[in-house]
Symmetry: C2
Subunit: 237 residues, 2 copies
């Protein structure tokens, strides 16, 4: 729900200005900009409504204490310590790239790769991490288990973004349901741009291998999560 809200607002004219999402018109195209803003606000709000009404989603009884800590973690990952900060970094990236092209000094040693990693860590990484974390907490994971799962989540989060950048270069528009090459048009900072296409693919594979290994300790129980990691590297859209 928070994911969908963020995609709706992300597509808005003032943000990425996208007309298509998975082959279908984006919300502001199909309805109106005000409807898209409000629909995003509504989904974000409703996520917290659901989290505070545990009978709606959780199949087992969770203590109120755990529920409150889950709400706090999700609000933290979605807010200025997470996704919102990442989105702000994204909006500022274009401006920083322009500055860098004009004069290396004026950006105070600005490093695009560091910036890009930081941006993705906040923009999508923290939400992916909290999803894994909250599931594990609800299932009663202990501190050590949570640490392994956090490493897994961090690695697949970054790999997901790298693949996203790669697909925008060499993906099939028919399979993806949207035009490719939009990052170049919008002058977005991307991994292929900064470290090259082949190096990006290699980096994504390394991250996924690391993610898979980091949860080997759970044995066969880790398989569903390991399959997700493998899916991320193979996905075509």
């Amino acid at each position: 729900m928070i994911h969908t809200y963020s995609l709706i607002h992300d597509d808005l004219p003032a943000m990425d200005d996208d007309d298509l999402r998975r082959g279908r018109p984006t919300l502001h195209k199909k309805f109106s900009e005000s409807t898209a803003i409000l629909a995003g606000d509504a989904l974000l709000t409703h996520a917290f409504y659901i989290l505070s009404n545990p009978e709606i989603i959780f199949s087992k009884d969770l203590s109120n204490n755990i529920l409150l800590s889950i709400i706090a973690k999700i609000a933290d990952a979605a807010g200025t310590n997470g996704m919102i900060e990442g989105q702000m970094l994204d909006m500022q990236a274009e401006h920083l790239l322009q500055l860098k092209n004009k004069s290396k000094q004026s950006t105070g040693g600005f490093d695009p790769l560091d910036y890009l990693k930081k941006m993705h860590t906040f923009k999508t990484g923290k939400m992916i991490k909290v999803s894994v974390e909250v599931g594990a907490i609800a299932a009663g994971a202990n501190h050590e288990e949570l640490d392994y799962l956090r490493v897994y989540a961090e690695k697949i989060g970054m790999a997901f973004q790298i693949i996203d950048d790669i697909l925008d270069v060499e993906g099939d528009p028919l399979v993806m349901g949207k035009p490719v090459g939009s990052d170049a048009v919008n002058k977005k900072m991307t991994f292929p741009d900064i470290i090259g296409l082949e190096e990006s693919k290699k980096y994504a594979k390394e991250l996924v291998s690391y993610a898979i290994e980091s949860i080997n300790i759970f044995g066969d129980k880790a398989l569903p999560l390991q399959n997700i990691a493998n899916y991320i590297i193979k996905r075509k859209y």
Copy 2:
């Protein structure tokens, strides 16, 4: 915090398109539209972060059970059962008024006053009501006490909106920090438009008297809330 988020998004070009708020440039004017969208999203998210971290705001210990019910109530009032629905009704009002002017039949017996009351009940009424309710719950109010307070909140919520409409007709732009007459320019549905200026003033006064009486049962303890009710009718901005 939820109030501020809603004002930021409400001022956006796709919504009310306001340049000034209390004499100062609105967020999208001062910074950018994307910053204003994200700042609203951030405040909305942070409201739930604070509510799930009780030590930040509550001076007394509330049970986790009560905290969860407070989060649920606020999410409900801010979402599609409350503020968001009200905002949608607001966005649709202009369209409905146009239809009505064209043909009375095509709007299926559309009644502007009913529509306006419903719109305000959702748009601001539910948030004002939940603010009073949550404060009372935190203070340990019982069911009967809550019922009186809910009546009080409903009445002052509606009175607040009527005064808002009146100020947009005869308020002092210098005191208000924004131009008056914007409702007429934006073809907004207002109380003075539908029932007239004098009738609107009379109605607002009746509502405030009703609100004040409805909490007389609390004796002197009701004074702060009764002062708020009186302030609503006297406010100049």
